[in-house]
């Protein structure tokens, strides 16, 4: 057991854990952040996607020892600023308006992958958006409305 310190959604976190404990379990069980979901446990479905230093990772494949000193962002942190105003952020709003969330289990991971794409300056380009969320499986929507929602808040194509 060692102590690991990192930032989660802007707040410092410290956990005592074996170094190989999955970031997913640290988030869900040690920190109570159950918004991040487990779908396969082997990096195939993307339901557990979070951002580490702005990069999308499958948190089921990341041992906590690799997170020391890093900045972690989960779905709970997506709308922190917006939620103080009692609302969703623009991406979440677009998902809601477009019907991009159905059963919702892939949604947190999908939002994080989309957030990373948008933060990197991704445009409202169908192919590029599909590429950006290709590691996130959704079994409900056929992806159409997810792509539409992300495109609606992405910077317009020139």
């Amino acid at each position: 057991m060692s102590a690991y310190r990192f930032l989660v959604n802007g707040a410092p976190a410290e956990v005592e854990a074996p170094g190989m404990r999955r970031l997913l379990d640290v988030l869900r069980e040690d920190l109570g952040l159950t918004g991040t979901k487990e779908g396969c446990g082997e990096g195939e479905c993307g339901a557990c996607s979070v951002l580490v230093d702005g990069q999308v990772v499958d948190s089921c494949l990341v041992p906590i020892c690799q997170v020391e000193g890093r900045i972690v962002r989960t779905v709970e942190g997506l709308s922190l600023a917006a939620r103080e105003r009692g609302s969703l952020d623009t991406l979440q709003e677009a998902f809601l308006d477009h019907g991009a969330a159905q059963c919702g289990i892939c949604t947190p991971g999908m939002l994080m992958a989309a957030r990373a794409y948008l933060d990197a300056g991704g445009a409202a380009d169908d192919g590029a958006i599909r590429e950006a969320i290709a590691g996130n499986l959704c079994r409900c929507t056929g992806y159409t409305k997810i792509v539409d929602a992300i495109a609606a808040v992405a910077k317009p194509l020139d």
Partner: protein, 777 residues
């Protein structure tokens, strides 16, 4: 995005209403209510079963067989382990009947000593421990002593029949003798995994009354409730089932959750503490139900002009080791086997048998996607042989008002096969694109490389194809199913002035929690936010039937609307005509709670005879057409499905965005079924039993899907709705396979149409033997 820009060639389009969802307004979802639980799902606040915390809960796991068929002689616990720190449960611990309550009583919760193991991964014992590490360490220390028995893997060789149907209409033998073309075909479809992204999950909490409270992921709380009462000898009050946020179902959480809830409960009762049983993906794939594999054989007679004159169809389904819902799946498969086509002389035979593979069960479409794939293949092949277009042969045969089905059902209303067909043809420019793809195919002939020649590059390698399919889907339960269910749904004005809708129908992504309040609010004339949707908790809601068969909006929706109308009448009667929205708060203060329970009444004029299998098999039918465009790499035979135009007649669109969501999602599941989803078996064991090896489409594999919603209302529903969930699943696969044919010239008779099969067919070879039940890899 649906569109109105169509170039209809006929006047049939005037009869159907094409729904325009209009412009999207931020925060408004096009003027329709936003998904009610959407904000919770989008912020991570929504609690799915595995997100719930129960202090002191233990973790449970299942000890499973590794053989396909064997006699269980003993369960041996390693004597070097201190078993007093954990709990082991076997069949001997079951207080009631060792039966998972379903159609037949053939499936045990756990195989008893001396009993027969009937499939790989069959549950034999259960283990609970305070932590996962102990669980992992000890599960390997329980040994099963077995004596192998000879397994059966081929459903056609099995002598144990779960169900059989034989429907006859007219005189097929005489008609075949007169037919200009008699076409035979054999089609095969394999297992398909539902692959909801949330695995099956249950938490059982022992109650002070000796009962059990279940928190879990499920479609049908009352199925679980019945199963608990029977196997655990509990009263209706002692067994309480609460559906938690459910991360997809697609039929996979229809009957299976009963098994897991019983397992968790058995451990919880013995451990005297809450027990969590959350499957990992591998276990979920290995142990839970799949879509039934099927062999469908057609013999079809046509006149020269393409008119269907006789059909003789045989359907064999692989039920797996236990019956589950197989008889009803087969029934729907057989009743849809002829496709949406008028035919005066029909024989439909179906048989489902037992094999030593994991039990198969409900999956979106419920038997119809299997048989309608075969029907559409047959239709497309006949069109080719007769030299008429796939569109024209369907125009000549599609059911119209006044036609009679093989069960003798007169189609009296709500028949929209022509409308969906013409809309799909128009929106896809089907004939124009097909002219182009045929021209390109002709140019390739003679100029293409030969199989062993050098590889082509770029555009030379790519062939475009377009394919069409048409389907019908019986709305609601088959035959007298709804009459037997006798559902009850309620609308309540609570004492505090709250308006509540109470049903057992679950939200699993499709939108129940949004549309039921929407429908009630419309009836009562109040804002939708004033209407609450009570939790799916058997202690709170009555049994309004399962959330399956695309029945929620059509059947339960009707009950909810009628209950709301009666509530409105009651309140307005007591208030001397003051409208409900002004009167209800005062009424609640004065009279206390008013609750209206609305019971199912048979649809007027709908009669079905279970014994003869004749009559109105369904109150009405939904109609669907799909046009798929594919690109095939002619050297590797990889297929990219580029576009799908999906046209679905749902009777009445309650919420366009949710409805489109059903069409788009169902279409992609059908595209996966057509192209990549394949469960390989070796001696009854699934070989690709992980998400790394069982593939479903990603956003890059997904075509652009354009849904066009059509309304041909059913008069038996106050709103006219006929259901949507399953409809798109019936047409996607045959449309894709027809498009592959258009691009490559070969017909693929077995789903999925993998590159290996297409490549073999293009080289005029038989495809390498599919790894099927019992066949070595």
């Amino acid at each position: 995005m649906p569109t109105r820009t169509l170039t209809p060639g006929t006047d049939v389009l005037d009869r159907a209403l094409v729904v325009d969802p209009g412009q999207r307004v931020p925060g408004r979802a096009s003027g329709f209510p936003l998904r009610r639980e959407g904000p919770a799902k989008l912020t991570g606040a929504a609690k799915y079963t595995d997100d719930l915390v129960f202090p002191g809960a233990w973790f449970g796991t299942t000890i499973r067989s590794s053989e396909a068929r064997a006699t269980l002689r003993a369960i041996e616990l390693d004597p070097d382990v201190d078993w007093s720190k954990v709990v082991v449960a076997t069949a001997a611990d079951i207080p009631g009947e060792n039966i998972v309550s379903s159609i037949k009583d053939d499936q045990p919760l756990l195989v008893p000593i001396g009993g027969e193991i009937r499939h790989v991964a069959e549950p034999v014992a259960l283990l609970a421990a305070p932590d996962r590490e102990t669980l992992r360490r000890l599960r390997g220390r329980i040994r099963l002593v077995t004596e192998p028995l000879e397994p059966v893997f081929d459903p056609e060789l099995s002598d144990h029949v779960f169900a059989e149907y034989d429907v006859k209409h007219g005189d097929p033998s005489a008609a075949f003798a007169e037919a200009d073309l008699v076409l035979e075909g054999e089609y095969r479809v394999g297992h398909q995994e539902q692959l909801y992204i949330e695995n099956n999950a249950m938490i059982a909490v022992p109650g002070e009354d000796g009962g059990i409270v279940i928190h879990g992921s499920m479609q049908c709380p009352y199925y679980v409730h019945n199963a608990l009462k029977r196997a655990l000898q509990l009263t209706s009050v002692q067994a309480r089932v609460i559906q938690e946020e459910t991360g997809g179902g697609f039929g996979g959480k229809e009957e299976f959750p009963s098994v897991l809830a019983l397992h968790a409960s058995l451990l919880a009762l013995k451990a005297k503490r809450p027990v969590r049983m959350i499957y990992e993906r591998h276990e979920d794939i290995v142990a839970t139900t799949k879509r039934h594999p099927a062999v469908v054989r057609h013999r079809t007679g046509f006149a020269k002009d393409g008119t269907l004159v006789a059909q003789d169809i045989e359907v064999v389904m692989d039920g797996g080791a236990y019956c589950t819902l197989t008889p009803v799946v087969l029934s729907r498969g057989v009743l849809h086997a002829g496709g949406p086509y008028r035919c005066p002389n029909v024989r439909l035979r179906g048989r489902a048998t037992r094999t030593n593979t994991a039990p198969n069960g409900a999956f979106r479409g419920f038997g119809a996607p299997q048989t309608e794939f075969a029907a559409e293949m047959q239709m497309n092949r006949a069109a080719e042989l007769l030299g008429i277009s796939p569109a024209e042969i369907r125009r000549r045969n599609v059911y119209v008002l006044g036609d009679t089905t093989p069960t003798g059902q007169l189609l009296r209303e709500s028949v929209a096969g022509e409308e969906v067909l013409e809309l799909a043809l128009g929106a896809s420019l089907f004939e124009r694109v097909r002219e182009r793809t045929r021209r390109e195919a002709a140019q390739r002939t003679g100029s293409g490389t030969i199989p062993t020649g050098p590889l082509r590059t770029g555009n030379e390698r790519r062939a475009t194809g377009i394919g069409l399919a048409l389907a019908w889907h019986g709305a609601g339960f088959t035959g007298s199913g709804e009459v037997h269910l006798a559902s009850v749904a309620s609308v309540e004005l609570a004492a505090e002035g709250r308006i509540r809708v109470l049903t057992a129908n679950t939200e699993m992504g499709q939108g129940t929690k949004t549309v039921f309040p929407q429908m009630v609010a419309t009836e009562l004339g109040v804002p939708v936010d004033w209407v609450e949707y009570a939790p799916q908790d058997t202690a709170e809601v009555l049994d309004s039937g399962p959330t399956v068969a695309s029945r929620t909006v059509m059947v339960v929706g009707k009950l909810v609307i009628l209950a709301a109308r009666r509530l409105k009448e009651t309140i307005e009667g007591r208030s001397n005509g003051v409208p409900f929205h002004e009167a209800f708060r005062d009424d609640a203060r004065e009279h206390g709670a008013t609750r209206i329970d609305q019971k199912f009444e048979p649809y007027p004029g709908v009669v079905f005879d279970d014994a003869t299998y004749m009559g109105d098999a369904y109150p009405a039918y939904g109609w669907a057409a799909a046009v798929a465009t594919v690109e095939v790499d002619l050297d590797t035979c990889e297929v990219q499905v580029v576009d799908v135009i999906a046209v679905d007649d749902v009777g009445k669109v309650i919420h366009p965005i949710l409805c489109e969501g059903q069409v788009e999602g169902g279409t992609l599941q059908a595209v996966g079924y057509a192209t990549i989803e394949e469960m390989k078996l070796d001696k009854g064991r699934y070989l690709n039993d992980r998400l790394a090896t069982y593939l479903i489409p990603t956003a890059l594999d997904a075509p652009h899907i354009r849904s066009i919603l059509v309304e041909a209302p059913y008069s038996g529903s106050p709103h006219g709705a006929k259901g949507v969930g399953e409809l798109p699943m019936d047409v996607g696969a045959p449309a894709v396979v027809a498009a592959i044919h258009d691009a490559t010239g070969v017909w693929i008779h077995d789903l999925p149409a993998t590159p290996e099969k297409i490549l073999a067919a293009r080289h005029g070879e038989r495809a390498p033997a599919a790894v099927g039940p019992g066949k070595a890899a």
